[in-house]
Symmetry: C2
Subunit: 394 residues, 2 copies
DNA sequence: GCAGGTTCCTTCGGTCGCTGAACTAACATG
DNA sequence: CATGTTAGTTCAGCGACCGAAGGAACCTGC
């Protein structure tokens, strides 16, 4: 019922250009001939379109391939130096800023520590702005070549306004977009950090090629990215994916959200440690958790049970083709206990959807939020309108 | 990542035509001028497009409206007699076939009882085929004027092949599509009955205008239709929406699916009655349930609690703008206890997504599966390619 | 009853984008 | 070096939208 937009003949061009660029980005390098086959566009159209992209410096030649007996095919690919994407990870303990080229190779990186309970929006904004300056000068790249800045933050981000609600930071309606735009003219893309990271796994990690997937992120908090028909699902007010506070034990263990029986109250980092009787006051959660998991105690068994039930609910409700487990707790759990987790999911989901889904671990490690944030920039780059731009020289 | 299709200039036409037809269908009657405003298309384009639709008999004039001081506007609307849609409800106790015109006015109807445990696919197919004949001859409408037959069945329907897996019927891989197509050349659209009914509520009931909604259906079984960005979500193997077997009490009450703690094991019709100590052997569940609900016993309180928790999980995970409660149990529960249900949802969901969602009752009653199935036909009609067709005479 | 005003609708030329077909380019082979 | 093969380009044609200009159908006031 969402009424589609009016289309005009120019939208055809934009859509086809985006498709071709996408193909080249994910499946490249490819010859014009290959592209014609991959996209379904006629050779003529591919030719004129690549001509434009080559002229803009967005696409470059990448060698030749002999073709038996005929003119060799010229390979094309997206120019990795056409532009750069900055990704920012705003987390509880730090603000990290990373600079990537279009191939997602990291070119520079800087991190600012945040003191506990010192998350003033202005401070965070300052770190972000400073970080942008630093990574650019470290890599020797002028700001004009930056396609945009993606920012992954905790909490809920209102789309359009970039207003943030983050309980963990005490942020309630922080206009981070406006705050930053006052001091920089770079295009900004703000989204929830878990969703950004989910998109990274989807594009470059274990999710490649999946149109229906769920990427769950288990760390101190618990979240999920729901990918429906190829697109990240945001819901009506951008808060879709709050998986951590779904109830799996009606009237169960109290959660820091104020509710009871939340998934996070069983499989979040703090919850596991508490249930294992380990103090969560001192540092070194990761080592402690590793130790707890190795113990294979009943707490571990229960954790697997709860995680499996939570995942089974996703399998039943959403029928994804792939479930990707990420986050540092998720990866520790998965590395130690993936077969057991799968068994619990099988026992608690319907046979048909279970058979259609595979459960795998994330491939990008627990620290891919900045990378994920940068993919927000790439996404925009791939869809962008063919516009007049400064020609690239890189 | 689902790569979009290649587009050509003709797709523009098709998309715009579909949009215009959709607008006329849901918001009509409207003048050409109105349509220009509503669709964003230029007056010129609307004029040529409506010209074609009028010529095909798909659209007809519907009176005039004076416009102060100028030429009166001619109203247009979809010709309700251009074609007809047949909807079939295949349920445990009956096969019901209904004939609708394009305005969804029922023109004829026939029902065949099914004996318990007599659900042979051939028998059901026979009833469907016979029903089609009967409603057409009752209404005096030739088969050529039927745009298609929508069929709502229990269980999971594989999209594309129309193969059905329905545990309740003992159907495991029944090729219902092929079975029927052997005896009729009418276009067939098979889908899960709950999803079909969900689409009916979305289009004509309480869901009008919602792009992100969940329609939950509570009867003997419990299911949900997830609507994401305007489209019913099916998942990778068409089984999305199996909400009834999500676990809300880890290790809880045994369910007929073999699992434990399923939502259906608490709020399904049978589950409520059993928990209230009412025998489910004899008939008259509806009266019994009404009595149980009126008692406001602790069982009723618990039922509200479980339903609320289940809905709260949907609110958190999917962030819908509207949740619609349907099905005969759902409607009974909602009529008696909607405020209490809302309170439980509020207590068990996050504030931000809860505030963004409204929880309402279905408006089409508990028996709208055939209507919903017919909407599958309408959907196709609205999107169809402008093709050469027999001109309408109705 | 008619000139002028207003609003709705249609017609027409212009532009844009895709396509098939013809054509050119660049190689291998004998 | 003639021939064959494959890759890529150019060009005329078609379909779709749009803006602008023109026509249609009504109202108002004199």
């Amino acid at each position: 019922m969402a009424r589609p937009e009016r289309r005009t003949v120019r939208d055809v061009r934009r859509g086809n250009r985006a498709m071709l660029l996408r193909t080249l980005y994910f499946d490249g390098p490819a010859s014009r001939n290959d592209l014609s086959g991959l996209t379904g566009l006629s050779a003529a159209t591919v030719s004129t379109m690549t001509g434009g992209l080559l002229g803009d410096g967005i696409v470059v030649e990448a060698g030749q391939v002999d073709s038996d007996g005929g003119r060799p095919r010229v390979l094309l690919r997206v120019n990795p130096l056409y532009g750069y994407a900055i990704g920012v990870d705003v987390a509880e303990t730090h603000v990290r800023v990373e600079l990537f080229d279009l191939e997602m190779h990291q070119r520079a990186k800087v991190e600012y520590a945040l003191r506990p309970a010192r998350h003033e929006p202005e401070l965070v904004a300052m770190h972000i702005l400073a970080g942008i300056e630093v990574v650019l000068s470290d890599a020797g790249i002028p700001a004009e070549r930056v396609l945009g800045v993606g920012i992954g933050v905790p909490g809920i981000v209102e789309r359009g306004t970039d207003v943030i609600h983050a309980k963990a930071f005490g942020w309630n309606g922080v206009p981070m977009g406006a705050l930053l735009r006052a001091s920089t003219s770079l295009p900004l893309y703000v989204d929830n950090g878990a969703k950004a990271m989910g998109q990274a796994e989807l594009w470059f990690g274990s999710g490649r090629g999946a149109a229906n997937a769920v990427i769950v992120l288990i760390g101190a908090g618990v979240g999920a990215t729901v990918v429906a028909d190829g697109a990240t699902f945001h819901g009506v007010s951008s808060s879709a994916g709050e998986w951590g506070h779904t109830k799996i034990v009606a009237g169960g263990r109290p959660c820091r959200c104020g509710g009871r029986g939340c998934l996070e109250a069983y499989i979040g980092a703090e919850a596991i440690l508490e249930r294992a009787g380990v103090s969560t006051q001192k540092a070194g959660w990761q080592e402690e958790l590793t130790r707890v998991l190795a113990s294979r105690s009943s707490v571990v068994e229960e954790t697997v049970e709860y995680l499996g039930v939570g995942l089974a609910n996703l399998v039943n409700l959403l029928n994804p083709e792939r479930i990707i487990i990420g986050g540092w707790v998720g990866l520790l759990l998965g590395e130690a206990l993936l077969p057991e987790i799968r068994d619990v999911v099988a026992a608690n989901s319907l046979a048909q959807p279970y058979a259609a889904s595979s459960i795998v671990l994330g491939r990008l490690g627990p620290d891919a939020v900045a990378l994920g944030a940068a993919t927000l920039v790439i996404e925009e780059f791939l869809n962008a309108t063919p516009a007049a731009r400064v020609p690239a020289t890189g």
